[in-house]
Symmetry: C2
Subunit: 340 residues, 2 copies
DNA sequence: TTTTAATGTGATATGGATTACAATAATTTT
DNA sequence: AAAATTATTGTAATCCATATCACATTAAAA
């Protein structure tokens, strides 16, 4: 029932707890513990299957070997997959993960940060919400390593791993234009954070470069917390009232999923009546008929980079900012073929 | 940088740490601390924004206010959604969640249990793998509350929250039969754990009750760790070589997703050439053309029950076993309409 | 031979909260 | 007025690992 403590080992080995601690923490050489004693302690620890009490160790050292993962929504396939990668990678370093979803709500995010803070996680991987920069800066200046993901604050120095949202959106839109679509709309979120802003900019610039005039009425913004049915209504209304609209770019995976549903409700033929491209891949996009062209994020790579950067910062904090922008992959499928 | 400790409050209030502890833990009355002192302490604690150090508290009390969540695969939408519900529910009680994925691998599961154990989580929610019963029993007899989910060990007493797999599979299969399908196959996993066994039994009994002979060659079992491409090959082979097969029941959501992909690769028309029903709902099933009939799990309810039972056991351990079997909901869609 | 240095290990304080027990002051009882 | 209660609060031990400093012993250097 009770755990084996360092004292138990010390008693059995006939040495002091200090010596045991040194040996088990690999400081035997440094602290000049004799090989004899060292081996004896190792052996006893092995026999008793000693596992250090992480609470006690954490209390003393201030390190909990735990990282906090704050995502927008763990139920979203992108973040769920990311969580899995992060879990696996962190495990390689002996770290566990405490997670939380913000629902894109700043108050909820602040709450999560606070809980994680007084649970003393060693470092954070955060998908920040709007206005979370102050809290993040506070943590940073308290010496806590933080790596942002999916988005960041342009005016605030920080480590981050993001994707090239601008280019992704640009490529997606340019592709639609190249296919001959003329009136290309975008369904995005009301968020004015950098990742959405970049996507919108990419969309706008691609239009411009294709000689198509940017038309404000073809930009539909939906709030994150609008539910499925509400979104569907809004999207349907947008599609119906945008006369001549022949293609849409959905700026997130869940908007894409809702978009497909809306288009289906309207009984429009994707590919024939309306071209579709979506940001972020998803099983649905691959399997839908017709399959949906998308801009795929390298989730595996994102997760690995996140954890690697965090571990580096935990072990050898450096002044240099690690800012990674990963390329996206435009996957062509029938949904964006004109007259397909 | 440093946190506010109980000592800081004690100093400011001019009392001992003991008194502060009593007051902040709501034991003021019980320990007969005067209202005056009590209020003063509360006020100071509020002003300093005191947050107890969970490590220290955990070390002393043995309670970490953390629960371990072990799922099969956090990237799977069912488990991801469940994780979110569990997170939200646990939060209501002030608990945080440490999670891990087993990949249906017993060794990995054992590793997770061990890590969670020496991290001293207070309780567990576990999707057990095969042969994990011994480890679970050990934890139970060490007094750790455990609630199993999705599956359990029939010969081992434990708390659990599962769904009525037998009836779900029965209803799904019976529905196919009622629609006039004659040669109904099932694609399931090689797992012989109870949830899969029940699904297979439900399938078999429904066939029998419909006067259809159970045909062993119409049962295709795939190992969990077979990758997407491998599964697709196997499923295609199965579909092609089962002469006269006119409907399939996929026993898990990921098998269903792969099944749809396989059928699509074969260029068969779901609904027309082959009826399809799947266990577990998914965005894809709702949106696919034709939409896929499925047996939907009440994820919200599952998560709530899990956390509620766990909290009850954490606070007032009882001898009674909480064993919840939730009903499933057969959602009819075009994929299972004969000649549809 | 004496001093200095190296070697190997232990005693103790620390981190922060909880709790068994002790202690003091205030009140009531006899 | 002395004794017995009761009301309030404090002291110190505890959970366990770790870091600092100290100490004893032996070997090397002066």
């Amino acid at each position: 029932m009770k755990g084996i403590s360092i004292k138990d080992i010390a008693k059995q080995a006939g040495v002091s707890p200090t010596t045991v601690s040194f040996v088990l923490n690999g400081k035997a050489k440094e602290k000049r513990i004799s090989d004899q004693v060292s081996k004896k302690i190792q052996k006893i620890a092995g026999k008793l299957k000693y596992k250090p009490n992480q609470l006690a160790r954490g209390l003393r050292t201030g390190k909990t070997k735990t990282i906090g993962l704050i995502v927008e929504d763990i139920a979203n396939s992108f973040f769920a997959t990311l969580a899995k990668v992060v879990e696996d990678e962190a495990d390689k370093f002996g770290y566990k993960v405490l997670y939380g979803s913000t629902e894109d709500n700043t108050e909820k995010a602040k709450g999560l940060l606070e809980v994680l803070k007084y649970r003393q996680v060693d470092g954070y991987i955060i998908t920040p919400t709007k206005n979370l920069d102050k809290e993040i800066e506070q943590l940073q200046s308290a010496g806590k390593p933080i790596v942002l993901v999916d988005r960041y604050f342009p005016q605030m120095p920080s480590h981050y791993v993001v994707v090239d949202n601008y280019k992704g959106a640009y490529d997606a839109t340019a592709h639609l234009a190249a296919q001959g679509f003329q009136k290309i709309g975008i369904v995005t979120t009301t968020s004015d954070q950098v990742q959405m802003k970049d996507r919108l900019d990419g969309y706008a610039d691609a239009l411009k470069d294709a000689g198509i005039t940017y038309n404000k009425t073809l930009v539909k913004k939906l709030p994150f917390d609008l539910d499925k049915d509400g979104s569907n209504e809004e999207i349907k209304k947008f599609l119906k009232t945008s006369k001549g609209l022949d293609a849409v770019f959905f700026a997130t995976n869940y908007l894409g999923i809702r978009g497909i549903e809306s288009i289906r409700n309207l009984e429009w033929q994707i590919g024939k009546q309306i071209g579709v491209v979506c940001f972020d891949d998803h099983d649905i996009f691959r399997l839908y008929t017709p399959a949906i062209t998308c801009v795929a994020q390298p989730i595996q790579e994102i997760g690995q980079q996140l954890v690697n950067i965090l571990m580096k910062e935990l072990n050898h904090p450096s002044a240099a900012l690690q800012q990674v922008v990963l390329p996206l992959n435009l996957i062509l499928r029938p949904s964006s073929q004109h007259n397909g």
